[in-house]
């Protein structure tokens, strides 16, 4: 499998995600935001976390309109896989690839802690290595992760099963306490209609080694690589 990790000015989690992809068995190339094309044969595009363009105007607003995003939109339109993590999720929302927006955390605080996520469905390219309803242990680190959408969009996301992950406790219960940024319906990640684009605030790429306390994040990258058996 071939992955392209897009680097914007101010991205800072690209190294972590490159490592997680390589560990799972993917070829990885970094792509600069000013490029107009993705490397030939790209299966997966990853928009990593960070603070692209210093979060000027709105988080992800400038990056969402960068030159390379036309190529990313075309890739997604062809059914290609796209994963946006943290700032990458904000960029996906700003670029129109996913609906809604990530607003300032409801408590106004930057949150940075371990977080359990409930896997809403395990029949997608991103989650097949997990069990449905499994509570996975990952990290969050953001100031603007408060998922917000209008009532109609929210109803569509729920109705079409496009919620990927929800904030939950260690037992998998979706509680108000576990939803520390105030997201609507405790949403931590959503899919596009065709399930080929995933945006999520938490960082699975940071829990891939026993050395740092957990490996629950590996499943996401292993799921992606196993979606391309010819290259595994």
């Amino acid at each position: 499998m071939k992955s392209a990790v897009i680097v914007f000015p101010g991205s800072n989690r690209e190294g972590d995600v490159v490592r997680a992809l390589k560990q799972a068995g993917s070829d990885v190339q970094k792509v600069w935001h000013a490029d107009h094309e993705l490397p030939k044969g790209t299966d997966l595009v990853v928009l990593p976390g960070g603070f692209s363009y210093g979060d000027y105007l709105r988080c992800g607003a400038i990056a969402g309109r960068a030159a390379v995003m036309d190529a990313v939109r075309a890739h997604a339109a062809r059914g290609g896989l796209v994963l946006g993590i943290c700032n990458g999720f904000q960029i996906l929302c700003e670029s129109g690839l996913l609906p809604g927006i990530l607003m300032r955390n409801a408590n106004l605080k930057f949150i940075c802690h371990r977080q359990f996520l409930k896997v809403e469905r395990n029949d997608t390219a991103f989650t097949k290595a997990y069990a449905q309803g499994q509570a996975i242990d990952v990290c969050v680190a953001h100031g603007e992760g408060n998922y917000t959408a209008d009532a109609e969009t929210l109803k569509r996301l729920e109705g079409e099963g496009l919620v990927a992950f929800r904030y939950c406790d260690a037992q998998g219960h979706v509680t108000a306490d576990a939803n520390r940024n105030g997201s609507m319906n405790s949403i931590a990640g959503i899919y596009s209609t065709k399930l080929n684009v995933l945006g999520m605030m938490p960082h699975p790429e940071n829990l891939i080694e026993d050395l740092v306390g957990g490996t629950d994040g590996r499943g996401l990258f292993e799921s992606l690589v196993s979606s391309f058996p010819h290259a595994a």
Binding site: G100, A106, L108, T148, A149, D150
Partner: protein, 79 residues
Amino acid sequence: MKARVTVTLKNGVLDPQGKAIEGALKSLGVEGIAGVRQGKVFDIELETGDKNAAEASLKAACEKLLANTVIENYRVELI
């Protein structure tokens, strides 16, 4: 020609920053504040002297970048 674009949150959209400012004003003892909503102001210099062309450019600027119309309204004033 110059313009001022004001971007504000739509009614009903939670504005935690506005709420924090409101709280800070209260704690400073500023009286008579019923509520605060935070927005953004852009002062824009236009190349054109034509009012219609200016309005078209500004509308495109707002729709494409300055406002996220999921949560924000914008207002354009030519000055």
